[in-house]
């Protein structure tokens, strides 16, 4: 023990406090850094000098700089972050869908359906009035355009979700890579006897990335003894050691939109997250949007099948001299039930009726379709032949043919011989699109048959009892109150409202959950802040304390120096 060792003690003390002051400075500097955990210099007395009779203290040293972090809280917070990202996204998806479906202020599908039915009511009142017929056709067009609009909006939304998903995939790749890089650096830094966890700032960076990642996907973090972390999402490993498993993004198409999917480059498996924004986006794109389009198609198909069947078996104030089927068969010699028609067609018959405009007489011809699955099943060519032989015998002016592209065409070369159809129990007229009101098969392509737009007198309203006959119109109106959809037999309007309401219920649920999750996350963040956050006032007090200790050590040095001086002077 000597005065020199006291000098040494002072030196160590000054050094240690300088480090501690630097740490405070670092804390204050990062007071606003997101994810930063405050640090403390851990001071420890140096080993005592035991060469004499008693242990004499030799000073202080900084053993390590400690990050004040509650690992359990960090894990919980990452989970909460995933949930928050997930719910935020889910809520956003639902509110966008709600904006599309918004039916409260008119202009939506409910409104278009109501207006169409209203015009049909007018037609029931005045079936002979050409202007009312024009109105019905126009309202039917508005209805089909509304279907197109909604379908396009849902597709667009699906597309924009896909863009988001693509971005998330890129972010996941980037973050995984950065975490893998940091893993390597931390492993290197903490190797070789350095206290584990001492690569503080690298760890802070890594924690921030993990937090960022947890917002995108659910994240499970397993720390290894070498300081590296393994990152798992769903049941897939994203990062192991210093290697990130890269995702390969590929284009796929489901018929009408293209979308991205991500597979791991190494084993080609799909990435399947259990949480975070990505899962909500995927659910929206592949679940809700698909479901919505199906529901919308179902509504459109109800109009297609019901209205078309009634329309094809009725007639307007004028009858056809020419009629082309709007749906084609894949082959004129294929049995009709297997000829690629969009709606079912079965064994049975329909009536082909010829009206002589001169004397008002009608002749009926029963066209029987054999579709019981045996050898002699009816083909489209057979159907055309039947019309030609049965009707053609009496009226050679009327002829049917199958066009090269598989459409049935019926024509009367005599303007005073017109034709119409009745009593179809086969579904053939709807399936072939003969004399229907709408064409198409879904919300995407439902349209008013163009012949009716050109000539609304062809719009079917009655069944041949004069221009005031509105029996077909009444059947169409009957469709409005017919419970056809779903297990609880909703009418088409009720069904649509229930779609809107269901989106509303799930949207409201998403919003409530989001509000809850925001509160939970805020609370957890506050807890984390209270453990790891920087309070500048605290740091200032710490600084004062360290300053005073530094000043004390300096004064101690001065005094030891004086002692030495005294000693030297006495020599």
């Amino acid at each position: 023990m000597s005065l020199f060792s006291s000098l040494n003690l002072a030196r160590q003390s000054l050094g240690a406090h300088q480090t501690a002051i630097q740490t405070v400075g670092q804390n204050i500097a990062n007071a606003n850094t997101e994810g930063y955990a405050r640090q403390r210099a851990v001071l420890r007395p140096t080993a005592p000098d035991d060469r004499i009779f008693a242990f004499v203290g030799t000073g202080v040293e900084v053993t390590r700089i400690e990050r004040i972090v509650d690992e359990h809280l960090e894990t919980t917070l990452r989970g909460a972050n995933s949930d928050l990202g997930n719910l935020t996204e889910r809520n956003r998806v639902f509110s966008m869908v709600e904006t599309i479906l918004s039916d409260l202020d008119g202009g939506g599908l409910s409104d278009a359906m109501a207006r169409f039915f209203d015009s049909v009511e007018d037609l029931a009142n005045e079936p002979q009035d050409p202007s009312v017929r024009g109105l019905v056709v126009e309202e039917a067009r508005t209805l089909t355009e509304t279907f197109h609009y909604l379908d396009a909006q849902i597709r667009n939304l699906r597309g924009s979700l896909n863009t988001d998903i693509e971005t998330v995939y890129a972010d996941v790749n980037r973050i995984s890579q950065e975490i893998a890089d940091l893993n390597r650096n931390i492993g290197t830094a903490e190797a070789g006897g350095v206290a584990p966890g001492s690569a503080n700032d690298l760890r802070t960076q890594r924690d921030a990335l993990l937090t960022e990642l947890s917002e995108l996907v659910d994240v499970k973090v397993i720390e290894q003894t070498n300081g590296m972390v393994q990152v798992v999402t769903g049941s897939d490993v994203l990062v192991v050691g210093s290697r990130a498993r890269t995702l390969e993004v590929e284009w796929q198409s489901d018929g009408d939109i293209s979308f991205h999917t991500a597979r791991f480059e190494d084993d080609g498996m799909l990435l399947r997250p259990n949480g975070g924004r990505l899962q909500a986006l995927l659910n929206g794109r592949d679940g809700l949007m698909v479901q919505l389009r199906q529901d919308l198609d179902q509504v459109a198909q109800q109009f297609l099948t019901e209205f078309n069947a009634i329309h094809a078996g009725g007639e307007g104030t004028s009858l056809y001299t020419e009629l082309a089927a709007t749906n084609a068969v894949t082959g004129a010699d294929l049995r009709l039930s297997e000829a690629g028609l969009p709606f079912p067609i079965e064994d049975g018959q329909f009536t082909f009726q010829v009206r002589n405009e001169g004397d008002g007489t009608r002749e009926s011809y029963v066209i029987a379709l054999d579709l019981d699955g045996t050898d002699d099943d009816t083909t489209l060519q057979d159907l055309a032949d039947m019309i030609n032989t049965q009707v053609g015998v009496d009226h050679p002016e009327i002829s049917a043919r199958v066009t090269v592209d598989g459409h049935l065409e019926i024509q009367s070369s005599d303007d005073s011989l017109k034709f119409t159809f009745r009593d179809d129990n086969t579904g053939a007229l709807t399936a072939l699109g003969l004399g229907t009101l709408f064409t198409g098969t879904s919300a995407l392509n439902i349209d008013v048959r163009s012949q009716l737009m050109d000539n609304p007198t062809l719009l079917a309203s009655g069944r041949g009892a004069g221009s005031g006959d509105n029996t077909a119109v009444l059947d169409m109106l009957g469709f409005r109150d017919k419970g056809l959809l779903g297990p609880d037999e909703k009418t088409v309007e009720e069904f649509y409202v229930s779609i809107v309401a269901q989106v509303g219920v799930r949207g409201a649920e998403a919003r409530d959950l989001l509000l809850n999750q925001e509160a939970i996350t805020t609370n957890l963040q506050n807890q984390r802040e209270s453990v790891s956050g920087v309070n500048v006032d605290e740091e200032a007090i710490e600084l004062i304390q360290l300053q005073r200790a530094y000043q004390g050590s300096a004064r101690f040095l001065t005094i030891v120096d004086r002692l030495l001086e005294t000693l030297l002077n006495s020599v």
Binding site: L104, G468, L474, V497, V505, V531
Partner: protein, 633 residues
């Protein structure tokens, strides 16, 4: 808990930010509620309420449409009512003229003058019945684009139909908003129709829904037992034609064969050695609808008659149980119009209907409502419709000819009728002094007259009456077996005996009445009355004027009945209108309660949120400023 936590600058910062956000959000929501007046903007604001609101909104919108339908129907019925009232006035005027001209002071000249007045009345009434509402004729049924009534000389033809189109005045509630010319003024005569079921046979291609006179076959299963302990359920629900049924039964493999009977009446099942029993399954009626139900029918089960209904395309040779009808054709005479329906190009029922409808005789032929027979009606008021053979038996095969017994008494003597009086009309005395009085006022047909004589309790078989045809007459035969006179004498001033031509005394044992010269089927309409009156006045014929008065009475009853029908419909409309109004009002109330913003409450909320917002802005501004560093030096 908060007290235990360290509070850091970031916590202060975050919580300030988030509470500012909360406050702003609340203020924005208050603002939306006040400015739109609506509680909810999207379904998720309150899914249950919003769903209710949309449902109510739909009801209200539909009610508005129904309301306008009701107004439309109501003004159309109003126009109908006024036309009927005016027609009634014209009938009363015609009756007055008839009364004036039937009494003793009338001369040929006054009658001729009145005939002119009736002529113009006919023209006036034509304008009335051809009244338009908007661009459609009121009284043409569903034939609305051409005038339904047309004058042809003394006759008036009806070109419309008897449909009364309905409109919707409440969900699924249909309402006939007009009445046809048939109901209002008499557009169709009573029908000359097939006397009975024309009984078409079934063929393999016959649709099941044509069977049982159009009632069809309930889709379902049948159970067949072979009486040997085996049984099988066969699902016939997908069958559409008899062919399908036969195939399905044959394909089941349970029986040896199933086939349509050669007479086309029904089906036949066979299984050798079996004792077949056919049952319906689970309360269904498929087997009975197909005429197959039977217990212990042996190895061959003969089904019952499946009774297909007549379709336009039914060939005439499938009628009358497959024996078909004669192809000589028949003649139609309607007033001065006549035509022969030639069967050379007529093979189906539809061909027949077309041939009659285009024969230019102002007749309408159609299938009757139950699909069992064909009916022909006159649409020409004032004319007599006759259908006669064209040298064969076609009219009889189709049941268009009346038997002597079935001839209605009002057609006697071209529509003169039986002219009976209250009380007994004539007294018959037989050779054995059997004497009885006959009251024919209840007789509808010649057969009834015959029955009234034969079944008279005092007759006791002494006198036998019989209807003769060609020419139509009645014959009385003394069957008492004693020589002497058979005599008929009229009673109470009745003309019935002389109308029948039997008011005589004979010792020959039989009285053959006069030719009853039956008139044809007449369209009993307003115009029939007018036409008869015109004819009676211009020919100065008392009997015709009296007949015209009876026709006018009937026409007046018809118009008044139509008027009552319209009145009833107007009342139905009013009730429906009231109901719709009340419903709309109530739903509006509900919608307002559920969906509208309570402005006072919303404004108070807005002020409260604004106050909190300002307060939090002030405190956070103060809080975030201070730090201990400011005090260090």
């Amino acid at each position: 808990m908060a007290g235990m936590l360290r509070v850091t600058n970031a916590v202060l910062h975050n919580s300030t930010l988030s509470s500012l956000q909360d406050n702003l959000r609340a203020i924005a929501e208050d603002n939306r509620k006040i400015s739109t007046g609506k509680q909810f903007a999207v379904a998720s604001d309150n899914p249950l309420s919003v769903r209710r609101l949309i449902a109510w909104e739909t009801v209200i919108e539909r009610n508005e449409k129904y309301q306008s339908n009701i107004e439309f129907a109501s003004s159309r019925l109003g126009a109908t009512e006024s036309a009927l009232d005016q027609m009634n006035d014209m009938i009363i005027r015609a009756r007055e003229i008839a009364l004036q001209q039937i009494n003793g002071t009338a001369t040929d000249q006054t009658r001729a003058n009145s005939a002119v007045e009736i002529d113009s009345l006919i023209n006036e009434s034509l304008t009335l019945v051809n009244r338009q509402f908007g661009d459609r004729y009121l009284f043409g049924g569903t034939r609305v684009d051409e005038a339904p009534f047309e004058r042809a000389g003394n006759f008036v033809a009806y070109l419309g139909n008897d449909n009364e189109p309905a409109i919707e005045i409440a969900p699924t509630m249909m309402f006939e908003s007009s009445i046809s010319g048939v109901r209002a003024f008499g557009g169709f005569s009573s029908q000359i129709s097939s006397a009975s079921d024309l009984d078409p046979v079934a063929v393999m291609t016959t649709s099941l829904n044509m069977l049982n006179n159009g009632r069809g076959v309930e889709p379902g299963m049948v159970e067949i037992r072979d009486g040997l302990g085996e049984r099988m359920l066969i699902d016939l629900s997908a069958a559409k034609t008899l062919d399908d049924v036969v195939n399905m039964l044959n394909n089941s493999g349970f029986i040896d064969s199933a086939a349509l009977l050669p007479d086309g009446k029904g089906l036949q099942l066979q299984k050798a050695g079996a004792n077949l029993t056919v049952l319906d399954v689970n309360g269904g009626s498929t087997a009975s609808d197909l005429g197959l139900v039977g217990d212990g029918m042996g190895p061959v089960a003969l089904g019952g008659d499946v009774d297909p209904m007549i379709m336009p395309i039914t060939p005439l040779n499938e009628l009358v149980g497959g024996s078909g009808v004669d192809t000589s054709g028949f003649t139609i005479t309607n007033g001065t119009l006549s035509a022969t329906i030639d069967f050379t190009s007529v093979t189906t029922v539809e061909d027949l209907l077309n041939a009659v409808n285009t024969s230019g005789t102002n007749t309408v032929a159609r299938l009757n409502a139950d699909g069992r027979s064909i009916e022909i009606m006159s649409t020409l008021a004032g004319a007599d419709l006759f259908i006669e053979e064209n040298g064969g038996t076609t009219a009889a095969d189709l049941g268009f000819l009346l038997t002597a017994d079935d001839t209605p008494v009002e057609r006697f003597h071209g529509g003169g009728g039986l002219l009976s009086v209250p009380g007994a009309d004539f007294r018959i005395t037989a050779a054995d002094a059997t004497e009885f009085d006959v009251d024919v006022s209840s007789a509808q047909t010649l057969g009834d007259v015959v029955a009234l004589i034969n079944d008279n309790p005092a007759n006791g078989g002494a006198v036998v009456a019989q209807a003769l045809s060609g020419p139509l007459r009645i014959e009385l035969t003394d069957a008492s077996g004693v020589p002497g006179d058979l005599s008929v004498a009229h009673l109470n001033g009745s003309f019935s005996a002389s109308t029948l031509g039997i008011d005589t005394t004979t010792s020959s044992g039989s009285i053959v009445g006069a030719d009853l010269a039956p008139g044809g089927v007449r369209l009993e309409s307003v115009f029939d009355g007018f036409a008869l009156l015109y004819e009676g006045l211009s020919t100065s014929d008392d009997l015709t004027i009296e007949e015209a008065m009876r026709a006018l009475d009937r026409a007046e009853t018809g118009v008044l009945q139509a008027r009552a029908t319209v009145g009833g419909r107007v009342r139905r409309l009013e009730i429906s209108e009231r109901r719709t109004e009340i419903e709309t009002f109530e739903f509006r109330e509900l919608m307002s309660q559920e969906g509208d913003t309570d402005i006072a409450e919303a404004v108070l909320e807005f002020q409260r949120h604004e106050f909190v917002y300002q307060a939090s802005l002030q405190t956070s501004a103060g809080l975030l400023q201070s730090t201990i560093l400011d005090f260090l030096n």
